[in-house]
């Protein structure tokens, strides 16, 4: 019978992907804000929109960080046990 090799990777690798995405997000958002300020028409509305966007971003990131802090990031992803993830505990309605 085929056996999966016993490879363990800490779940912290997810954070690398998340960090890369956040870098993309920040760069794109800053570039967008620069566009608004550089080419937009002077007025209160523009500052309001930038503030709302920044506020929404802070709330979303803070909420995510708050949820992510609860996990043990040294927990290994074991390829050997991957098949065990698909069980009745994960899909109680099945």
């Amino acid at each position: 019978m085929f056996d999966f090799p016993d490879i363990n990777i800490p779940i912290a690798v997810f954070l690398i992907v998340y960090g890369a995405y956040m870098l993309f997000y920040v760069l794109y958002a800053l570039f967008n804000v620069y566009h608004l300020i550089r080419y937009g028409v002077y007025g209160f509305g523009m500052y309001l929109i930038v503030t709302i966007f920044a506020g929404g971003t802070i709330i979303l990131v803070a909420g995510s960080v708050f949820l992510l802090m609860e996990y043990d990031w040294s927990y290994p992803i074991s390829l050997d046990k991957t098949v065990n993830y698909y069980n009745e505990d994960l899909f109680p309605s099945l």
Binding site: F14, Y21, F31, N32, I37, V41, S64
Partner: protein, 179 residues
Amino acid sequence: MMNLHQLPNQRPNEHVVSFLRRQWFAILTIVTAFSILTGIPLLGSWYFWDTIQTWLDHPVIGPFLVILGSIYFLSIWLFAFLEFTDYYLDTWIITNERIISIEQNGLFNRTASELDLSSVQDTTAEIRGILQTIFTYGNVFVQTAGEKSRFHFKSIDNPEEVKQLINRLVQEKRAKKMT
């Protein structure tokens, strides 16, 4: 940053008569798309909360789901902001001397053009379809003499009024030139 009281290459005695953006319906489209893209996953999570809770408690699937969800909602938020920027930076300025058109296509394409009112040959207002008829918005095309391209005011409020305004300003400018 552009200041309406100090336009680029402002001429003597030039003042802004009308400042136009696409009608509020464009904003409504962004808000609707944002609400649907945000609401459906949230409603789904609420309906299947028991299963979602089990997944979130899992040491591997839990963090994966939270990161996936975070990326999803941040992307929608960024997408909405990009779309708003596209809306906000598309502007048409009508002064007593010229028409200035500034159009933003995505983040990396921007077209700014202007035409003198004396070179306007004809203007066309266009309202097409049920939505444009109900909410009174549409397009205005300004044809210039000797130019193949037309100025296109996209999805603006009351296109008929804008057309009449441009025609009036063109006549005033021509009358001023004659005297």
